[in-house]
Amino acid sequence: MYKKSLALLLVSLMILTLALSGCSKPATETGSEGGGEEEATAADEIIKVGWMGSLTGDQAVWGQCELNTVKMLFEEINAEGGVLDGKKLEVIGYDTKGDPQEAVNVAKRLTGQDKVVAIIGPNASGNAIPIAPVLEEAKVPDIATVATNPKVTVLDGKVKPFNFRVCFIDPYQGAVAAGYGYDVLGFRKAAILYDIADDYSQGLTEFFEEFFISKGGTIVAKEAFKFGDVDFRPQLSKIKEANPDVLFLPVFFKEAALIANQARELGITVPLMGGDGLPSEQLFTMAKDAVQGTYIVNHVDYDDPEVQDLKTRYRNKYGKEMELNGYLAHDAVVLLIDAIERAGVADSVKITEALETADVQGVTGRIKIGKDTHNPEGKEAAIVKIEGDRYVFQQKYSAQLD
């Protein structure tokens, strides 16, 4: 009997350790050059910052770029003497696999086990929304990069105390797309093809539709697909019959590329238009000819002199072009460093307070955090158009929300 219960105890201990160690492997890296073991005396001089996002899955290209950007910036900051008079920054990055459940686990791990002072990411709204309770419990602030759904920072009219972001939100993005399409490009009949299973896609569709109709335009076709689909010809054949002026695609680049190819095959020649899910170097690999002339509501003007330096540094270090997410990850770092410096201490609650009054200049524009929304207020969108294999800047455009 005694032996049996001992064995049971041992087994349960083993299971427990398995459960604890079975979480995703940390992609941790100290910011310092060489990345060797830190000396014991310097150990308390390190400020740990968490990062979360997709390192695998459909959006891995974006997540990897974000983490790379944060690592590069931390290395640069550390080389120049760190923050708060010599403290070094370290990033601990975990993979969310683009899965909301996994995002919650990662947030728990970063706050509970790694004791980070703040978290950067994730980029997807669907992953950024469910982590709020974890942040509130641990009192650790999070700065989302490209999570544009309103619910990331505000729920039922109340601001979530520990969620911040550096990007504009979907109603704004939808309003900009509708306004620019109607007023500047003169589109009157729009067709929409969206992902019925995705928060981002549904939200953007709703707001685009609302603003486009309130301007006086009509939605001549509104068709849906489901995540994982690769063939869109049935929907596109229907859209072709409706004869729109523009095809609005509130989707991510993979679907956008496949849709563009198939639309052109079916003889749909109208311009395409999309939100911040589209810009990626991958779009050109997959559908360069089909996406020519596409208009995109973007966060950043790639040709802006301000961003050239960052682009070059990234290309020199990683030998790849920076993805859109890198620019927003950069601004999240800028916002965070400013808050840490103003807080004067690497304490997550003090940093949160400092974030609420932040007003910094990033590469994607001025980021002035609104106290009631935790969004960057009045941030302009950059309209870009695809010409060749470049995103050519058209103009800055801001829309009025009510």
């Binding site: 054949s237 229907k238 997959m286």
Partner: protein, 292 residues
């Protein structure tokens, strides 16, 4: 009318893609009575092999095409030897085969993510993307090619099964594996041949797929639909797999074209369930007690 014809062509072309993959499921099921979910992973690798034979090795298209099919043929046999044979020797329940198959599928996907990377790769333009116009209906060149290659492959397969000694052995083994073994059929060899055939088809489907939808690690997901098509047509029956696939393709396109694309899967799958309720073995399936 134009709209209807266009949707019908869309449906046929999607259906023929499902058919190429569904045949792989049905072949294995007919012999081993379990659903080989690793098939999707093999198709994905077929797409990658074809891509690298074309670009990195610089082979002409027909050589790359056949090369990819032969490689996946070998791969499918290796998977059978590594993941299923040990289970078979221990007479494991069929559920274990399915779990082993799912494990293999997840392993293959993650292996590609870890080694080749998660980015998308595009086949060089082998066939012109400009569609052929017949009246006001446009038909993609690639779709036509896919349709004919699928048809030829399926015809060859039917010929092989019906008119060769090995084909007869496959039929006998499908009917009753134990009795066939007693009659002197080398059932182990039959199983290898069946996996090799499935792998060959997976390679062909993979290359055609990669050309049409670009290559990425999650491309195997689409096999879910073809598996459903195989069940619909009757798992284990080759004509059933083909007919089920084509029907599913057409039902899908007609629902999105004439009812609503939002409800496409809802309507299409209610129809499928209805068919299975009245005919549990699928449209052309053999009546068996054990469907897994």
């Amino acid at each position: 009318m134009t709209q209807f014809l266009q949707q019908l062509i869309n449906g046929l072309s999607i259906g023929s893609v499902y058919a190429l993959m569904a045949v792989g499921y049905s072949l294995v099921y007919s012999i081993m009575n379990f659903s080989n979910f690793a098939h999707g992973g093999v198709i994905m690798l077929g797409a990658y092999f074809g891509y690298y034979y074309l670009t990195a090795a610089g082979l002409p298209f027909p050589a790359a095409f056949i090369g990819a099919a032969l490689t996946t043929c070998l791969l499918a046999v290796i998977i059978e030897r590594g993941a299923y044979k040990p289970l078979r020797e221990r007479k494991a329940p069929f559920l274990y085969f399915i779990i082993s198959a799912m494990g293999t599928s997840i392993f293959l996907e993650n292996m590609v993510i870890a080694t080749i990377g998660p980015t998308f790769r595009s086949y060089p333009e082998v066939l012109s993307r400009t569609p052929i116009q017949i009246g006001s209906v446009s038909v993609g060149r690639l779709d036509l090619t896919m349709f004919f290659i699928s048809a030829i492959c399926l015809a060859l397969l039917v010929f092989f099964i019906d008119h060769t000694k090995m084909g007869k052995a496959i039929q006998a083994t499908a009917y009753n594996i134990k009795a066939s073994a007693l009659m002197g059929i080398n059932t182990d060899l039959v199983i290898i041949v069946v996996f090799a055939l499935g792998g060959f088809f997976a390679g062909i489907a993979g290359v055609l797929f990669g050309m049409k939808y670009t290559v990425y690690p999650q491309i195997g997901i689409i096999t879910n639909k073809s598996f459903i098509a195989a069940v619909f047509g009757g798992l284990g029956s080759l004509p059933g797999a083909v007919i089920g696939s084509i029907l599913l393709g057409i039902i899908e396109t007609i629902t999105s074209g004439y009812f609503s694309s939002q409800y496409r899967d809802l309507i299409a799958f209610v129809l499928l369930i209805a068919v299975l309720v009245f005919k549990p073995s699928g449209l052309m399936g053999k009546v068996t007690e054990d469907k897994a």
